[in-house]
Structures are given as structure tokens and as C-alpha cells.
Symmetry: none
Subunit: 388 residues, 2 copies
């Protein structure tokens, strides 16, 4: 069993993955927005970026109450037209420039640019319908200016949106107006150390969901999305495993993301989850007799119990499978057997070191072939020969 972040801590899809890939969340996590942007193919090079939805709010007792976090999943056409009205805005008397970029449906990104901005501001999105829109608060002193600029953007964009002809039309048609931009996940475009530099693997990813593609890109994975891979319960799981096996010709670490079980769990639909698991089981037949040098690792970036319909801080089972690997008595792959399995219990932060170990690549502690701290046996070409 492993806890992707720590016992009792529910991971986000970004933080769960980063932790499992061996990045220290306390020191290296830049915030979520940057990964979502990358997943949509947007590279943020400067400023502070927020994932920002079109949403529907109503005013009650001086508060703005969130009626719909996605403005009724507004059409791309309507959203695009609305976005064009707020795409550029000069804030704090010209000290900060705001850019709003629409992507798909209700989704977009807000970027603030200017001197002395910080990503340490609280989420405006309360993440719950019926809750008030939240005041952006500075988490550190240096973020006061960012919080102020963000507040000005929210007020002014709200004024533009609520008066807009498209929204008036939506109301007449009984649709929720897209009258507010709900930002969350402030992040800076910090560059994370490449996965290949950190762990010595040449990595590829097979994924469909934007967030997962974004994380993989941010870490320098080559991202592949085979035909029929949707990021949904109907995804082509068999095709994803096939693609991964093909990629092993040119890469020595392939990450395959399967989102279907999580989608079923968010829908609180255990029947659908079982169906997805059975289809994933089928797909995994392709690796039940793996090549001599393949280490198969199966686990989750978080638990999503159907009872809760959201991520939880529960541990998740993990399987290491390959020729010559340690064995145990477990006969099934599920929480009960895994909790007394031969790999014990560990934290997601330890996973990459265990993978190095099981793939016979770990460096004995105390050896120092490279001038930087590394956990893997370096490849010959990374070494510096002594020339005389």
C-alpha cells in the first residue's frame, strides 16, 4: 500500500502525480494552474496564471453566491464571444496587465503580468455551489498587490459580463448567464527539474486528460494519445497498453494514465467503476507475461471512494510485477490483500527509488560518480572520463 502524499491527505490529480514522480511538494509545487494550461497546450512563460471558469453567480445580501461553477457548461461559441470582451485589461492604474484566454466550453486561463506579483493568493472559487465567491487573500505579504489586482479584474469583468448581450439572451432562454470568472490554482511558471535528469529514465506518457498530459509535459515526458483514448470510462485501455509497449522500444519509462475509474467514482457509480476495472483487467493481459527486463507498476494517484464521490486521503494498493522481483502471498490485487502484501506500506515520495531498485538501477548510498546528488546508476555517457 502507498499513500501518494501522506496518510490522510487527499491528493489532487496534479499533486498526487508529482509526489509519485518524486517531486517534493513542499519545495517544488508551483500551483495547479500551470499544469492545466500545459495540458491545453498553453505554455505560460511569465506572470501568475490561474485556471479560471466562466461561472454563474447571483447577488444575495451583498455576497456573490455561486449558482453554477460552469455557467451551464456554456458553449464554446458563447464563451469565446464573452472572452473577447475581457481578454485584455489594465489593472492598478497600469501596473498590472491581465490576459484572459478562453480554451474549451466554460474553461479558460487568467494571467496577471507585472512587477512583484506572487502566486501565494487564496482561491476565489469556493469549489461548492451555494457557497459565496471568496475574496482573494494574500498568503504572504508579497502577494498583497496580486490579490488587489485580481480583485479589480473580478469586479470589472463581472460588470462587463453581466451587461453583455449574450448573457441577457441566455437569461431569456432560461440558461444560466456566464456572469463571473472564477479563478483558482494560482501558479507561477517555475521550471521543474526534468524527470530524465532526476531519475535517469527517458520517459514517455500515454494519457488523454489535459491535466495528465500537462504534468507529463512539464516534466519532459513525450506525450502520446492513441486512437480511442478519451480520458473517460469508454477509453481504449487496450490501445493504451499496446501503445505503452510499443513506446518501450524508444523509451525506458512509460507512464500510462487511466482516468475511467476516477470518473466513475466522482459520479458515485460503483457499477460503472467495476466495468471500467474489468476492461482495464482485460487490457493488462498484454503484460501478464512481461519481457525479462520490464517492471510493471500498477497504482493510483489517489483513492476516489464511490461513497464519497471525491478524492480521499486513503492509501491505494500498488503492485510491482516482473521477472526476478520479490514475491509475496497475495493472490488478488485489492486493498485487503495489498495491506498485508510483501511491499509493505510506503509514501508516494519513495516510489521512484523503489522503481530504481526493482529495475536494478539504484546507486549504492555513499558512491559519488556525479557532482550532483543522484539516486540512480548513471549511464556511461553521463560520466566524465579522466583524460591525460
Amino acid at each position: 500500500m502507498q499513500y501518494p502524499i501522506a496518510p490522510g491527505v487527499p491528493p489532487g490529480s496534479d499533486t498526487g502525480h508529482l509526489s509519485l514522480f518524486g517531486y517534493n511538494l513542499n519545495e517544488e509545487y508551483p500551483g495547479r494552474g500551470i499544469f492545466e494550461a500545459l495540458g491545453e497546450g498553453i505554455v505560460l512563460e511569465d506572470g501568475v496564471a490561474f485556471r479560471a471558469n466562466f461561472a454563474t453567480v447571483s447577488r444575495r445580501n451583498g455576497e456573490l453566491i455561486v449558482e453554477d461553477r460552469r455557467a451551464g457548461r456554456i458553449s464554446g461559441e458563447d464563451a469565446e464571444a464573452l472572452a473577447s470582451e475581457i481578454s485584455q485589461m489594465s489593472l492598478l492604474e497600469g501596473e498590472v496587465e491581465a490576459e484572459f484566454m478562453h480554451t474549451l466550453e466554460h474553461r479558460g486561463f487568467l494571467i496577471l503580468r507585472g512587477d512583484d506579483l506572487s502566486s501565494e493568493v487564496t482561491d476565489v472559487d469556493p469549489h461548492e455551489v451555494g457557497y459565496p465567491v471568496l475574496e482573494p487573500l494574500p498568503i504572504e505579504i508579497e502577494a498583497i498587490k496580486t490579490a488587489k489586482a485580481l480583485k479589480e479584474f473580478l469586479i470589472r469583468s463581472h460588470e462587463v459580463l453581466r451587461e453583455h448581450e449574450i448573457n441577457k439572451k441566455r437569461v431569456r432562454e432560461g440558461k444560466p448567464p456566464a456572469n463571473f470568472i472564477l479563478p483558482r490554482g494560482a501558479s507561477k511558471p517555475v521550471s521543474l527539474e526534468r524527470f530524465s535528469d532526476r531519475w535517469g529514465f527517458k520517459p514517455a506518457a500515454v494519457a488523454a486528460g489535459p491535466m495528465y498530459k500537462g504534468i507529463a509535459k512539464a516534466l519532459g515526458f513525450e506525450v502520446h494519445q492513441p486512437e480511442g483514448a478519451t480520458g473517460l470510462p469508454n477509453s481504449n485501455f487496450r490501445g493504451k497498453i499496446k501503445e505503452a509497449l510499443d513506446l518501450l522500444e524508444n523509451f525506458d519509462f512509460v507512464y500510462v494514465h487511466m482516468k475511467g475509474t476516477d470518473v466513475a467514482s466522482h459520479k458515485r457509480d460503483p457499477k460503472l467503476k467495476v466495468e471500467v476495472l474489468e476492461r482495464i483487467d482485460d487490457a493488462l493481459e498484454q503484460v501478464t507475461d512481461p519481457p525479462e527486463d520490464l517492471v510493471v507498476v500498477i497504482t493510483g494517484d489517489h483513492a476516489t471512494p464511490c461513497l464519497l464521490g471525491k478524492h480521499s486521503g486513503d492509501p491505494v494498493p500498488i503492485l510491482f510485477y516482473g521477472k526476478g522481483l520479490p514475491k509475496d502471498d497475495a493472490s488478488n490485487f485489492h486493498e485487503l490483500d495489498a495491506s498485508v502484501g510483501g511491499a509493505g506500506w510506503f509514501l508516494g515520495a519513495d516510489l521512484m527509488k523503489l522503481i530504481l531498485n526493482f529495475s536494478d538501477r539504484s546507486l549504492e548510498y555513499g558512491l559519488r560518480p556525479l557532482p550532483r546528488r543522484r539516486w540512480y546508476v548513471p549511464k556511461k555517457e553521463e560520466l566524465t572520463p579522466f583524460r591525460i
Copy 2:
């Protein structure tokens, strides 16, 4: 089960022991050379020390390729004669003095002395035959001078060795010439806190291998090597346990090292390993009915799977045995039973605190009888009475 250092990290014999003895590798590890020297009876009081083998290299395309890391296990006589030619060398125009000390067979130590030297340089020894000798690189800015001095020593000693009559004779006889000094494990003679000060025990060691004796000496253990203790599969395991039980008259912590299983595993000889384990089982009969106040702890400083023939980052089983200690359902001492055993899974860094606990010596967290942070209940003579 316990991971001596961390999940997936293969310990060296020095780092595994230090971690199990409760020393923080990130902050306190001085490098390996110092322990190897101590094991050979050499106390390094200043300078930067390297373990340094006589090796055989050949030149190919401007690189020096390691042909034999032990120069055909050169005889002590040949090695001694070669060593005398490079035993003292003045480097960097007199700023650094090098001393090379031969010990046994191909083994020796290199010590650099001078102002502003650092042990933060990479290994010159690639640890693999067929690999190039590696350039000594500074890991920190302060180590640039050390790396330069080391490089000068390598070049000049190579010139002396390759032209030496003994090596010419070795080549004529078809033996690999000892034409290079391969240093590794740069370390400073930092003084580690004494084990007795840190944990409140008066410690003795029963060991035969030089490295293990070196670690024990560095931590202030009194080291004993009973007759027939060889550090090999043929060792007198029964005599070692007997010696340990005798030492308990005068010491309250006795560390017994048994190397035989590791030797068998490095040889990839599971049959020999089983034989060694059976002989250790026999020897342990002496503690199956331990005195009331004895806590027996049996574990390894690392796994060495016969399949790999080298240290791995796998966990190792651990047994706490004594009167009044917690019990569990395990009926055998091996990985499968231990992985669901009553002591759970923990890190080597936690072992000493568990031993304090099982020997009823741990200090309740929050109590502060001493002006330093301690985990054990201090002895009466460590306390400072209030005198008025």
C-alpha cells in the same frame, strides 16, 4: 521489516550501519574512506582520505579504461615496493602534500593534506571494469583545489607506476600491471558523536571485517574479534555469540556482525548462503532462552539478493526477541512472515529508539533531564544535582 536507509536505496556497508546506529546520513556521513582506514588500524587525524586500490588501466582514445580494479589481486610484496615510490608527493607546487599508504594486497589509502581541502569530490573509481577512470570533480566550490591536487597525484603516480620495473616484469609474466591508483570514498576525519553519548549504552562490537571494525571504532565501541572469526562464510559464528554473551558482563550493548551471508550473496551462491544461515541458526541457540534483561535484535544492514549479487534497496526482516517483549503470530524469521509481523515496517533511523523502548530505557517525549536532546533515560551520574 525495516529499510536500513530508505525504501529502494541500497546501503553501503558503512552507510547501512551508520543509519541503523542512529546517525543521520544527510548531516553526519563523513565519507567511506575514514571507516575503511580505521578498520585497518589507521587513524586519520587530518586531511582528506581516500580508499585507493592499485588497479590496471589501459589507454584508449585518450581515456584510461579500467581493466582490473585490483591489478590481478597483486601480491603484498609487489604492492609494497610500488607504494614506496609514490608514498610521498608534493602537489600544486607545495600547497598540498600527498601520502599513499599500502595496507594489504591491492589495497591502500591516499591522504591529501593542506589548507582548504574538501572531501566533496566525486569518485575516480567507476566501480566497473571496462569503464573509463573518472575525472575527479568538485561537488562544491570549496573542493576545486582538492580535485586539482588529486588529479595531479593521479597523473604523476601513473607515470611512476607504468615505468616501474615491477610492472614491466608483471607484464612479461602475463600479469596485469598495477599502473594506476584508483581512489574513492573521499572523507574527512570528522569526529562522530560517541554512540555511548548519543544512546546511553556502553557498547562493544564483535566483528572481523575491517570495515565493520572501523565503524565500531569510529563510534567508540570496544572491538573484539574472537578466535576463528574471519568475516567469511567459514567464520566461527558460535564463538562470536559466545563472546557477545561474555561481553555483556561489562557492556550493555553488544553489536555482533556476521558477514558470511553477504559474501555468499555477492558470489551468487544461494546454497552457500543457506549453509551460512544454518550455521548462524545453530549459533543463535545460545540466546533462545535469554536472560531476563537481554533484548536480542537480529537484522541486516542491507539485502544482498543472490539473484543480483550486490546490495539492493529491498527491506530486510528484523526480529526483537526477549522476555516481556511484544509478541506476534510469526512462526518463522524471513521476509514473508516479517512483512506482516508485529513490529510493522520502519526505517533504520528509527531502530535505536525502538531498542531503547524494548530495553525500557526510552525517555518520555517532553521530559528534559539533560541540557541536550536525548532519547534515553539518563543514568544518575549524568544528572546535575542542585547544590545549595
